[in-house]
């Protein structure tokens, strides 16, 4: 199933969180945070994952890294199913894939200097044996992300949000990964700093041939950086396509609604705004049939009962919607 060129293949990934209630803490049901997600990422490619809050984007990212243990499905990295790896081979595998977090304030240990923070991965993986070699490597890392190595002995609180995010990126790069899962890396930054960090990510990708899984809820950010995009709704990918295709012609009504919310830099441009009705349904009790039907403007009778099939409507453009059957 997984094709050989892909660096990362996610197949039918599931993460169900049990709901425990009552005196005996018996399981009363499951929150289906991630419910059968599949996609491939090639080396050097950026795969964008978008969706509104609570749709399972971050859980997907963390399940891939086994920061949260997935409930089901497979994650192939370089052809190996990482869910079957033992403790020590998993540790080696962690060198290959890293994560950049959303919150630049919470993601750096306040009691470690920048040097200590960046030194940690080198020590854990025994990459640079001598202290001098480590310091040299740290200086290089800081320069790579555009920070002055002279500041390596400072603490995180002495840096701004954008600088901290660069430090977070430097930490991810320390182990020379092939894949970085960027979990909303710019959504906590203000707009001018966002573009700097995005450009940095872009440059690093070209230099180091990195692959990204770029998780975001801001479509204009994703458009800027992604090669392909998956749109998530309620733990499932509802549409997957090339970035340009998706923006030119979104097929799924949910994607259409999302894209209609992206501002156009032309005050005279007229277009239809699709306002989504209602809230995201509870993933503990998802709607029958198509999970989107209660909010869908094009909902038909079949949507209420039958779950739509995942279908390649055009080359490279997949969608799960009854409109295209």
């Amino acid at each position: 199933m997984s094709d050989n060129t892909a660096l990362l293949s996610v197949r039918d990934l599931q993460k169900y969180f049990p709901i425990k209630r009552g005196l005996m803490q018996s399981t009363k049901g499951y929150v289906r945070a991630v419910d059968g997600v599949s996609f491939d990422v090639s080396p050097g490619e950026t795969f964008g994952l978008v969706g509104e809050s609570g749709c399972g984007k971050s859980t997907t990212g963390r399940s891939i890294l086994r920061l949260i243990e997935p409930t089901g499905g497979q994650v192939f990295f370089g052809g190996k199913d990482i869910r079957k790896l033992g403790r020590s081979s998993m540790r080696k595998m962690r060198q290959e894939m890293q994560i950049v977090f959303q919150d630049p304030y919470g993601s750096l240990n306040p009691r470690y200097t920048i040097k200590q923070t960046l030194e940690e991965p080198l020590i854990i993986h025994g990459m640079e044996r001598s202290s001098a070699a480590r310091t040299k490597k740290i200086a290089e890392l800081l320069e790579t992300v555009g920070l002055s190595p002279s500041r390596m002995n400072r603490y995180p609180h002495e840096f701004s949000g954008g600088q901290r995010q660069r430090i977070g990126i430097a930490r991810a790069l320390a182990v020379n990964p092939k894949l970085i899962i960027a979990d909303e890396p710019v959504s906590a930054l203000d707009v001018s700093v966002q573009s700097q960090v995005l450009n940095l990510l872009d440059d690093l990708q070209k230099q180091l041939n990195l692959a990204y899984v770029f998780i975001a809820h801001d479509l204009s950010v994703v458009k800027h950086i992604s090669d392909r995009i998956g749109v998530m709704y309620l733990g499932k990918i509802v549409e997957l396509s090339d970035a340009d295709d998706l923006y030119a012609e979104p097929l799924h009504p949910y994607s259409q609604a999302l894209l209609s919310a992206v501002p156009i830099p032309d005050p005279d441009a007229k277009r239809e705004r699709i306002i989504l009705q209602g809230d995201l349904p509870s993933p503990a009790n998802p709607p029958t049939g198509c999970p989107f039907h209660p909010r869908c403007k094009d909902a038909m009778d079949i949507c209420k009962t039958v779950t739509p099939q995942w279908k390649e409507v055009r080359p490279g453009h997949h969608v799960a919607c009854h409109l295209y059957h």
Binding site: R91, R94, F101, S107, E120, P121, I124
Partner: protein, 304 residues
């Protein structure tokens, strides 16, 4: 606001429009913001000094029964120029006994708290980090420890171990970790959700490294505060036990057993209660002030 005048090289006098107020150094600022830390700290230092140098400071052997230490009627002597805190009902010098009592109190207070700190921190970290059934088991044991009458528990354990200062602080320490464990667990629960802990896991850091090099340093402040307060409490507990007759065995001086002896004669010789009671009060107060002050000091939202 005072003005600052400067004389330039060519003799012109300049007045700075907005003279910079010189920042007092950190120590002075802390002293102003938290005078109680320093009061507590000085009291604690004084106590430590007294305990360490009790032998040199005490004018007499604390257990020597002075032939002239009792009145002709057999009553203890009131404070006078020879016995500045008076004598007890056996004719011993109360001042010397109070100094030696500091030794016992501090020893029991500090060592029992260290034992509690070690057990409580270890269990708290394990419980908070691993969660699930490990957490349930440790926390239920903690609940039992907290529900059981503490003094009764310690009395039973001392009775089993035998009466000595060492066994006293072992008993107090081994049974007193429950509060520390709970506080540490709570801290770990909040700290482990921080993304830097997730980042370390993503990095492949071994569990021991996450627990002791990343989580532990970040929960230090409340643990230090708690331990400081625990020293005071455990000193009080030592006195309680000695008062009840199961702590420090006579004739060794302890504030608790001095109070117990004084209780029998306090109607005509109240100084037997005054001085050990006062010493106990000041010692516990010192640790509590220090602990409360440290809590303020470690609060990052306060003075920088």
């Amino acid at each position: 606001m005072s003005e600052i005048t400067l004389e330039t090289a060519n003799g012109l006098k300049q007045t700075l429009a907005y003279p910079q107020k010189k920042m007092p150094n950190r120590f002075v600022r802390l002293l102003k913001a938290y005078p109680l830390v320093f009061v507590g700290g000085i009291m604690v230092l004084a106590l430590i000094f007294i305990a360490v140098f009790a032998k040199q400071l005490a004018p007499y052997n604390p257990n020597y029964q002075f032939p002239n230490g009792l009145a002709l009627s057999g009553a203890p002597l009131a404070p006078n120029h020879q016995f500045i805190m008076g004598t007890d009902d056996l004719g011993r010098d109360i001042f010397s006994r109070v100094l030696y009592g500091a030794q016992v109190s501090l020893e029991v207070g500090v060592f029992s708290s260290l034992i509690s700190l070690f057990i409580g921190t270890t269990l708290g970290i394990v419980s908070g980090y691993f969660g699930k059934w490990v957490d349930s088991i440790i926390m239920r044991i903690t609940d039992i420890m907290l529900a059981f009458p503490y003094i009764l528990f310690v009395v039973a354990l001392v009775a089993v171990l035998g009466q000595s200062v060492t066994n006293l602080f072992i008993a107090i320490g081994v049974l007193g970790w429950a509060v520390t464990a709970r506080v540490v667990r709570g801290q770990v629960l909040s700290v482990k959700e921080f993304e830097y802990v997730q980042a370390a896991r993503a990095m492949g850091a071994p569990t021991w490294r996450i627990l002791f090099k990343i989580i532990f340093p970040n929960i230090g402040a409340p643990v230090i505060v708690l331990t400081t307060l625990a020293i005071g409490n455990n000193m009080l507990l030592e006195s309680t036990l000695s008062f009840l007759g199961i702590g420090v065995a006579p004739p060794q001086a302890s504030w608790g057993n001095m109070l117990a002896e004084g209780q029998q004669v306090f109607q005509y010789a109240p100084w037997l209660l005054y001085y050990p009671g006062l010493a106990l009060l000041l010692a516990v107060l010192g640790f509590n002030l220090l602990g409360d002050g440290l809590r303020e000091l470690f609060n990052p939202r306060r003075v920088r």
